[in-house]
């Protein structure tokens, strides 16, 4: 661990946050335009974060501070394992299992921080978020397993690299059903409608966000930004052929995010059990068919 690496990591952290916040701002703009509004400027999220961090904030106890710090750190650490472009994987090894499990620490930290605030609304939000994890992790895991069983490597950069050489090699072509399942699961993963049970303002008063203010809300914003980066990055690396330059990567990420925002705009929210059932039935069955076809019938592989 050299000082150059630490510097690299710092730069990358900055990069993730900038990309994530820009996406959030653009997402708000897209939603507004679809709803016949003007919407805030694209840099609104930056202003929000700056403002949040400059305010005096209320903390309920040390666990709240600790939980949110742990959450953001966990997601940033996850992002370090995300291959952005050639030679742009700061932490080298990029085992997909590591990414999936390290991401969980973000959720755990967030859950811990907000439930330490002692508000039942926040806790219901967390219980919904965790329950929803049940819904999307299984289809997602199945798709990843299908890829691993073809490729024989569970490194994300290997998966991305294997799609090099044109659009016909992309996994979106080779695993069409899997992509469909992943797209549904992705919608739940980033918590957009119809799976935004965690936030659900009209039901549980914004759920986990209910007690966050000041820099805690700022951290929650950053958390969402990095989460967007990681999850869209996962989709790009898994299905859209990875990228050779960082702007290609960000561009592909934006396509993924844009699709998700459009879906978000035209759907209502499921009830939580309906949401999970929907994920299992649709994403789950697509993924299962894909997995069985790939693993046992050798279809779709090279």
């Amino acid at each position: 661990m050299s000082s150059k690496m630490i510097l690299d990591l710092f730069g990358m952290t900055f990069f993730y946050i900038v990309v994530g916040l820009t996406f959030m701002g653009l997402g708000r703009k897209i939603t507004a335009r679809l709803q016949r509004r003007v919407g805030p400027p694209w840099y609104q999220s930056f202003l929000d974060v700056f403002k949040c961090f400059s305010k005096t904030s209320i903390s309920h106890n040390y666990i709240m501070d600790l939980g949110l710090i742990m959450a953001l750190a966990g997601l940033i650490a996850t992002a370090y394992f995300m291959p952005v472009a050639k030679g742009w994987t700061p932490a080298g090894s990029s085992s997909i299992v590591v990414i999936l499990y390290l991401m969980t620490i973000g959720y755990l930290g967030m859950a811990m921080g907000v439930s330490a605030s002692g508000n039942p609304n926040a806790t219901i939000g967390i219980s919904r978020a965790l329950a929803l994890m049940f819904g999307y992790e299984i289809p997602f895991a199945m798709i990843i397993l299908a890829m691993i069983s073809v490729l024989g490597s569970s490194s994300l950069s290997d998966i991305a690299m294997s799609q090099a050489g044109g659009i016909q090699n992309w996994n979106i072509i080779r695993f069409p059903l899997g992509f469909l399942a992943a797209e549904i699961a992705f919608q739940a993963m980033i918590g957009e409608k119809p799976y935004d049970h965690m936030i659900a303002p009209a039901e549980i008063a914004s759920g986990p966000m209910v007690e966050l203010g000041g820099k805690f809300l700022g951290i929650a914003f950053l958390l969402h930004a990095v989460q967007l980066f990681v999850e869209t990055g996962l989709m790009v690396n898994l299905f859209l052929g990875g990228a050779s330059t960082w702007y290609e990567f960000v561009g592909k990420q934006f396509v993924v995010y844009f699709t998700s925002m459009v879906i978000n705009t035209v759907f209502a929210r499921y009830r939580i059990e309906q949401g999970i059932k929907h994920l299992w039935v649709w994403a789950g069955s697509f993924a299962a068919i894909q997995l069985v076809l790939t693993r046992y019938f050798d279809i779709f592989s090279r």
Partner: protein, 392 residues
């Protein structure tokens, strides 16, 4: 605090489970400033898991003592207060009040005024329906519906502004008629807006009423049978959604409704769940647009004339002794004013019947236990509970 607990018989067992020790049930505060709450009103929900076991309505946040205040203000001054009884649909209040005063005075509004009243009332109904349908969307997370329908509502409010100078509280009616005649070209302006609204309907259908997620959310939620609705004091679209054929506009016509053909729609037959209630509003929305066209077509042919019967100077208005009850069909159902006069400059007593009280207080206590927290906002939105008319 001596807030007593009222629980219907069917739910005593759940309460007993909850009260065996005090730790299984926890409380959630749904309102007054909850994002899912319509207005300054609240429910204190006793929850077990994510299911409600007991509801304590928490009204009174908005109470401005209108009924008391009206007793101290002159007959015409009250016109500034009454639209505030129901914010989203203010005109029925004015009309009901004015009609009751007119009944006591023994005057009748001129024909032109009655048509203007009808058109205003129906347009006010449209704004309320748009807000209601958008509210259903908002309650289940479909915020696009809220924003888009708000935009449509704004077009209607523009026409209100052109007619009355105000956007929300119009204070357009006075005892004896309306304040002023429609300006030149106003009818055509309204027709243009209606064209626009009508052209949007297919889009809203696709967005809201044919959306599979909306169906999944609302279908089977909080069903009410026709008998329950009739005996339970539910009125307006909530009642008609169950299949009951009742509409104040048809059965006790006022304003110009006697001369118009008011359509009757029933989304359900014998029973209505949340989805049926939402669809009922959607059906009536379209019917209302047609009704306004009808009214405008007739109003355009009317000879010009006064829009206000002569009742003397309004600020010196004295109303003969007696009592009168007048009701109109608002967007949420029957809105009634019971007015008692002792012959003075001010009313002796004004008593308001809002459509939300039976649903917002009584039905909440009986129907919400057993419902999940997910559905409280949707339940409120589809029943179109308007808290200001509980609080008055």
């Amino acid at each position: 605090m001596n807030r007593e607990i009222y629980l219907p018989d069917g739910y005593t067992t759940i309460r007993k489970i909850g009260e065996r020790d005090g730790y299984e049930v926890y409380d959630l505060f749904f309102g007054p400033n909850h994002p899912g709450m319509h207005g300054n009103f609240g429910y204190v929900l006793d929850m077990m898991g994510t299911e409600i076991v007991r509801v304590r309505p928490n009204a009174g946040m908005l109470h401005r003592g209108f009924e008391k205040a009206m007793e101290r203000k002159k007959w015409v001054q009250n016109l500034a207060l009454i639209p505030r009884v129901c914010v989203v649909d203010p005109d029925p209040n004015e009309v009901a009040y004015c009609q009751a005063v007119e009944e006591l005075l023994g005057v009748e509004a001129p024909e032109r005024a009655r048509y203007l009243r009808t058109i205003t009332l129906e347009r006010s109904r449209l704004t309320a329906f748009l807000m209601g349908m958008g509210g259903v969307g908002g309650a289940i997370g479909l915020y696009s519906a809220t924003y888009l329908m708000m935009a449509d509502r704004d077009r209607l409010l523009d026409m209100f502004e052109a007619l009355t100078g105000a956007r929300v509280y119009h204070i357009f009616n006075v005892p004896g008629g309306v304040r002023r005649d429609a300006p030149e070209g106003w009818f055509d302006g309204v027709l243009k807006v209606l064209d626009e609204l009508e052209s949007n309907i297919p889009d809203w259908d696709k967005l809201v009423f044919e959306n599979p997620v909306v169906w999944a959310r609302l279908e089977g939620l909080a069903p009410i049978t026709e008998e329950e609705a009739r005996r339970g004091g539910l009125v307006g679209p909530n009642l008609r959604a169950t299949g009951a054929k009742f509409d104040v506009r048809r059965d006790a016509p006022y304003a110009a409704y006697g001369e118009l053909d008011v359509e009757m729609h029933n989304a359900g037959d014998g029973k209505a769940d949340a989805l049926t209630r939402a669809v009922q509003v959607r059906l009536e929305y379209e019917a209302t647009i047609r009704l306004i066209r009808q009214a405008i077509a007739k109003a355009k042919k009317l000879p010009s004339g006064p829009v206000r019967a002569d009742v003397g100077p309004l600020h010196k208005l004295r109303v003969p002794k007696g009592d009168a009850y007048s009701k109109v069909e608002s967007s949420k159902g029957e809105f009634g004013y019971y007015i008692v006069s002792n012959g003075g400059y001010t009313p002796y007593r004004v008593s308001v019947r809002g459509p939300s009280m039976p649903a917002g207080i009584h039905l909440a206590k009986t129907q919400l236990p057993g419902v999940k927290i997910d559905d409280v906002a949707a339940w409120m939105a589809t029943l179109a509970i308007c808290s200001p008319d509980i609080d008055r």
